[in-house]
């Protein structure tokens, strides 16, 4: 393995952190979704790296799974966002929540 | 458990036909209602034909699991795709085929969201078929849940009286059951240490400790028992019956409740015979209470469907009592009762469905004289009622006879109590017949049409099945016997 395992994990953590910050701080649903995607990809990178490191194929299988899930999630998520935008005219989660997010 | 491989995968074919029908219905445009109905009818007719073929082709002398298909599916998880039928599941496959076919025909005049309705309906039936033939615990559980979920939508969208309540209650009760079954399965699989979900492998090779068997059987009994309408977990069933549309009630009371009893039999009794023996007295007690209680509660109902719902509770108690007896007679009677009760309630609900479609009235105090207005529809209703009472030469009689015989043998007191419930049963069912079909004609209903030939067809099929197996019970018993002998002789 040319790239050391630690580097891969480091990259994954950095990616994850980026995604996390993006998710937590941005006030736009699309960016929020983007952040989620980045976090998923971080997990995928970690899986591939760990799979190589441990010489097991399951890591790559899991990465493939994650890709599929991420694709599905984007599809559904974007569709929802479009819907929400049409209904409320805004993409700010705080605005939306104050109207909608009432349990019961 | 002996396995006999299939020459030809007829069981998978049944599932495939269902799935193909489902796909066809989903792909058809929603406006083509007639086409959707034809596709569903063809699909159900083919599955009925295949299940009749399985019933006839099943080798009674050979016994054991036949038509077995075995495919590796996820070896690392120990899950494989195994299908097979024995003397217990063959009658139930036949029952499912019959109720599917007649249910589709019963809904011929149905007009609301036809495509979605039939898609859900076929999905539900697919799950039921899968459950009856699955020999892998994982698949069994998956099919079981597949057969539960469409129920919610079917009732909420197409139901009547109090449908949100009925559907929610039903779903929550049944999911609570699932929540007990899944841990039971996982626990047993882990306990076996064999890492496989294959039922034959577990039955033949696993050696469960008595404690594990008792615990797991309890989980299965309560979990599946909720679906089987075991007292005191039965209250979802009348509420659900009342809310559901006709064909769904037919399927629900006719087949779904049998899934519960079948689950107890297939998973609980095959895997945990010692647990069965341990819990049998409790089962017998609850079943006897259910028999009497269902009949008594039925006496005070005013809604036709509630009455049938409670009579189902009573009749499913007979199944429970038969299983609790742990004798060949008891198990034979219980399985036959599953079949007979399935056909009987299907006929009952389809007759009531017809009456409701025409009158939009289910309080039987407001009906009356219907035999005069619609003699054929009334005739089917009366036939179903008589079957429910246990009149000889109609299918239920033989089942009740054997179950009571077994109960007298093993639990004489419960047997005596259950026998006396027959009189109450007769009283409350005949009361309904009197109020609905007899008496002076209510002028409001004077001009209602009788069942047309097309709509009469499904009822005729059901009535025919009741009478045929009532006059020739040996047709059914030889099949069931081939399995129950093996099960009982294998008991410790």
């Amino acid at each position: 393995m040319i790239v050391p395992y630690t580097h891969v994990i480091l990259l994954a953590s950095l990616l994850f952190l980026t995604g996390m910050i993006c998710t937590v701080l941005r006030r736009n649903l699309i960016m929020l979704l983007l952040g989620l995607e980045i976090m998923l990809n971080a997990a995928a990178v970690a899986f591939v790296g760990a799979g190589l490191h441990l010489q097991q194929i399951e890591g790559q299988a899991a990465a493939l799974f994650i890709l599929a899930v991420a694709a599905a999630e984007v599809a559904v998520g974007l569709a929802l966002i479009v819907c929400i935008y049409r209904q409320t005219g805004t993409l700010d989660p705080e605005c939306i929540e104050s109207d909608v997010c009432e349990l019961e | 458990m002996q396995l006999h491989s299939a020459q030809f995968p007829v069981l998978s074919l049944i599932l495939l036909v269902c799935l193909a029908g489902l796909a066809a219905v989903v792909l058809l445009p929603a406006e083509k209602k007639q086409a959707v109905k034809y596709v569903s009818t063809v699909c159900s007719a083919v599955t009925l034909g295949l299940s009749v073929y399985v019933f006839v082709a099943y080798d009674r002398a050979l016994g054991g699991m036949q038509f077995v298909e075995h495919l590796q599916w996820a070896p690392s998880l120990g899950v494989s795709y195994i299908n097979g039928v024995d003397g217990f599941s063959v009658p139930l496959l036949l029952l499912t085929g019959i109720v599917f076919f007649t249910g589709v025909l019963t809904m011929w005049e149905h007009d609301l969201r036809v495509k979605e309705f039939f898609a859900m309906f076929i999905l539900l039936v697919t799950g039921v078929f899968g459950m009856f033939m699955a020999l892998d615990l994982f698949f069994l559980f998956v099919w079981y849940d597949v057969s539960l979920f469409p129920m919610y939508l079917l009732i909420v969208i197409w139901g009547s009286t109090n449908r949100e309540y009925g559907a929610l209650k039903l779903t929550l009760f049944l999911l609570a059951g699932s929540a007990l079954i899944l841990p039971g399965i996982v626990y047993l699989v882990a306990e076996s240490g064999m890492g496989t979900f294959s039922l034959p492998a577990l039955v033949n090779n696993a050696d469960f400790s008595p404690f594990a068997q008792k615990l797991a059987f309890f989980l299965f009994y309560v979990g599946f028992g909720i679906l089987a309408g075991v007292w005191p977990f039965h209250t979802w069933s009348p509420a659900g019956h009342v809310a559901a549309p006709t064909a769904v009630s037919m399927l629900h009371a006719g087949v779904l409740m049998k899934i519960g009893a079948f689950g107890i039999l297939r998973v609980g009794m095959f895997l945990c015979p010692e647990g069965w023996a341990f819990w049998a007295p409790v089962m017998a007690l609850l079943a006897t209470i259910g028999i009497v209680y269902g009949a008594l509660a039925g006496l005070r109902q005013t809604d036709l469907k509630f009455v049938i719902g409670y009579s189902s509770v009573s009749h499913m108690g007979v199944v429970g009592l038969g299983l609790a007896a742990m004798t060949v007679d008891g198990v034979n009677g219980a399985v036959f009762q599953m079949f007979a009760h399935g056909v009987m309630t299907a006929l009952f609900f389809s007759a009531v469905g017809y009456i409701y479609d025409k009158t939009h009235e289910r309080k039987f105090a407001n009906l009356g004289g219907l035999s005069h207005v619609m003699p054929v529809a009334g005739g089917y209703f009366i036939l179903a009622a008589l079957t429910g009472i246990g009149v000889p030469c109609l299918a239920s009689f033989w089942a009740e006879l054997l179950v009571l015989l077994a109960a007298f043998d093993v639990y004489p007191v419960y047997g005596a109590v259950a026998v006396s419930a027959l009189a109450i049963n007769a009283l409350f069912i005949l009361r309904v017949v009197e109020k609905t079909c007899f008496g002076p004609v209510n002028p409001k209903w004077e001009h209602l049409p009788d069942v047309s030939f097309g709509l009469g067809m499904p009822r005729l099929v059901l009535a025919g099945v009741i009478v045929i197996f009532g006059i020739m019970p040996f047709l059914m018993y030889e099949t069931i016997q081939s399995a129950s002998m093996l099960l009982i002789s294998g008991l410790p």
Binding site: C101, L103 | P232, A297
Partner: protein, 628 residues
């Protein structure tokens, strides 16, 4: 001998065919001939005539049969339990077969007239065929389970026929009452049968009778008493008797066939069939004797005050069935069975005559019929007189011979109370019978001009109704003299040595009682200026008691509505709604409430929540790293 076996084979086939023909007719009418009443009646009559021919052939050919013939096929096997079906031909079953077929045939011919023009004509014949088939299979049953099955089926056809005019509330209600009350008895029967099957393992009546089952005597008593429950229900004995008078809501031919001559006699037949078995238990037989006696006397008193002609015959049916049970319970096998046969004849006769009167005058009330001029109708009145004489037990009519045999068996008992009860029954029988006859023949306002022509309402189909009646009257005359051959035929069964004639004082005594009763009835109802009130009706409390059927109906009604409906059933319903559903609802309510409470802590913006989540996960990871 191959020849003999071929012949017996033929007889057995004849037995099967006799039973199957009406069933075939039932199916045929139900599916094909519902809208063709003429064809339906023809098919039904042809079927029952076929059965009749077979029955007569069998009777003639099998007279000297030494051992019973039987053919048995397996109906169902489950484990060790074998349920079989078959035909069993011996003296009792063949005689009973002939009686059943004969009366079925006559009643069906009669119905051609009585039911003419009814919209449900085809349905009527379908149900009649169902009844005939079920009854024949019942009579021929070799095993107890088969007997039970067809026992239930005749109950079913009775339900359907009582409620034949189901548009009338009273009719459908009476049908339900009949079914449920007999069901109550049948539950006991089924319990006894299952007990026998479980403990003894055999269902064959012959095997049970010769003690092959190896049952203990206690078990025999218990199961016998339970089986008597079925008899009490079906033969309308105390305390399940009140369904029978209500069953008169059905068409009169149905009352004649099912509710007097054949179906209700099935209970007596069952006792006779299993006579050797029941004889093993003295306690059970004493119980039966008591039940028979009580029913006999009670229903006789009810008959004394009724105004409804059919009700009187219904009460008298219960009473006569009580007589038969008394005879059987006292060990008089021949007496009981013989009384069954003669009673079948004369009671069918009485009912059919009553039917002709009702058909003509459109009323069940005997006073109305009398005032309408019933004495002008010669055939029914003459035949009714013959029937009444037989019912009262006057020589030379058939009832005399059989009643004497019954009393003779009662004489042989140690306790004279039974004999006294029997004689009291004879007196009451004659009294209520001739009360009815005198009321009809000598109506109160006679001598005044009768406004209407007696043949007023007589239907065009009078002939179809008259011939069966005349034939039955003839049979009533003849049957009394056939005691000896019938006894010979039955001799293969038990009780070959019992007394047929009592001591010399018995016949004069009973005849004296009969004539005394007739005299009382004449004084009260027959003579000119008679008050037309019976001695019972003068005491209001007693009359009320008898008219209300000893309050039996009220007791049953109270039990059903209070104990069952508003008691147990309501309790179950409330338990369902309050306890079980209440628990479930409170569970659901708790879930929702706790959800609400927890939700309060979540009313923060989603990103803040995410931040908290990440922080927690991070913190947990750190903790695990440090601890791990």
């Amino acid at each position: 001998m191959p020849g003999a076996s071929v012949i017996s084979e033929t007889w057995l086939w004849a037995g099967w065919a006799a039973a199957a023909a009406p069933f075939a007719a039932f199916v045929l009418i139900l599916f094909l001939l519902r809208r063709r009443p003429g064809a339906a009646a023809a098919v039904s009559l042809a079927a029952v005539a076929t059965s009749m021919v077979f029955a007569l052939c069998l009777l003639v050919c099998c007279v000297d049969m030494e051992t019973p013939l039987r053919s048995v096929v397996t109906w169902m096997i489950s484990g060790d339990t074998v349920i079989s079906a078959g035909v069993h031909l011996d003296g009792l079953s063949l005689l009973m077969l002939a009686v059943v077929c004969g009366i079925c045939l006559l009643v069906q011919v009669y119905s051609l007239g009585y039911m003419a023009g009814d919209p449900g004509f085809a349905r009527y014949y379908a149900f009649m065929s169902l009844f005939a088939g079920a009854m024949i299979f019942l009579v021929l049953a070799p095993g107890l389970v088969q007997l039970y099955i067809f026992w239930e089926l005749v109950g079913l056809s009775s339900y359907l026929l009582i409620g034949f005019w189901f548009e009338k509330f009273s009719a459908s209600r009476a049908g339900k009452k009949a079914f449920v009350m007999t069901r109550l008895g049948d539950v006991a029967f089924l319990a006894g049968l299952l007990l026998l099957l479980v403990r003894g393992g055999v269902m064959d009546i012959a095997a049970l009778s010769n003690g092959a089952a190896g049952l203990s005597s206690g078990m025999i008593t218990v199961s016998a008493v339970l089986i008597f429950g079925g008899v009490i229900g079906k033969s309308a004995q105390f305390p399940l008797m009140t369904w029978l008078p209500d069953a008169m809501e059905g068409p009169t031919p149905v009352s004649a066939l099912l509710h007097s001559a054949t179906m209700v006699a099935a209970g007596v037949f069952l006792i006779a069939r299993m006579f050797p078995f029941f004889s093993q238990s003295d306690a059970a037989m004493t119980f039966l004797l008591a039940v028979g006696t009580v029913s006999m006397l009670m229903s006789a008193t009810m008959a004394m005050v009724s105004r409804d002609i059919k009700q009187v015959w219904a009460y008298s049916t219960i009473s006569q069935l009580g007589f038969m049970l008394m005879a059987l319970a006292a060990g008089g096998y021949f007496a009981g069975v013989f009384h069954l046969f003669t009673h079948a004849g004369f009671k069918a006769l009485l009912f059919l005559c009553a039917g002709m009167l009702i058909h003509a005058f459109h009323s069940n009330d005997m006073f109305v019929i009398g005032q309408g001029g019933a004495r002008g109708l010669k055939i029914p009145m003459l035949c009714m007189a013959v029937g009444a004489a037989a019912l009262s037990g006057i020589w030379p009519f058939s009832g005399f011979a059989s009643k004497e045999a019954v009393l003779a068996t009662l004489v042989s008992l140690e306790n004279p109370a039974w004999l006294i009860a029997g004689l009291a029954g004879v007196f009451l029988t004659a009294y209520y019978t001739f009360r009815l006859v005198f009321i009809i023949v000598f109506p109160a306002g006679r001598g005044q001009t009768r406004a209407e022509d007696p043949a007023r309402g007589v239907a065009y189909a009078y002939g179809a109704m008259a011939w069966p009646v005349i034939l039955l009257a003839f049979a009533t005359l003849v049957l009394g003299f056939l005691a000896a051959p019938i006894r010979h035929w039955l001799a293969a069964g038990a009780g070959a040595h019992e007394a047929v004639h009592g001591p010399a004082w018995l016949a004069p005594l009973s005849l004296g009682l009969v004539f005394a009763a007739i005299a009382v009835a004449w004084v009260e109802f027959g003579r000119k200026n008679a008050s037309q009130t019976g001695f019972v009706e003068r005491v209001r409390v007693v009359a009320e008691l008898f008219a209300r059927r000893w309050y039996l109906d009220d007791i049953w009604g109270w039990a059903v509505s209070r104990l069952l409906d508003r008691g147990a059933a309501e309790a179950c319903r409330q338990a369902d709604n309050r306890v079980i559903d209440g628990f479930v609802h409170s569970l659901a309510g708790a879930a929702v409430a706790s959800g609400r409470v927890l939700a309060r802590g979540h009313r923060v913006m989603i990103q803040a929540r995410l931040m908290i989540m990440f922080a927690v996960v991070f913190g947990l990871t750190c903790i695990m790293l440090i601890w791990g």
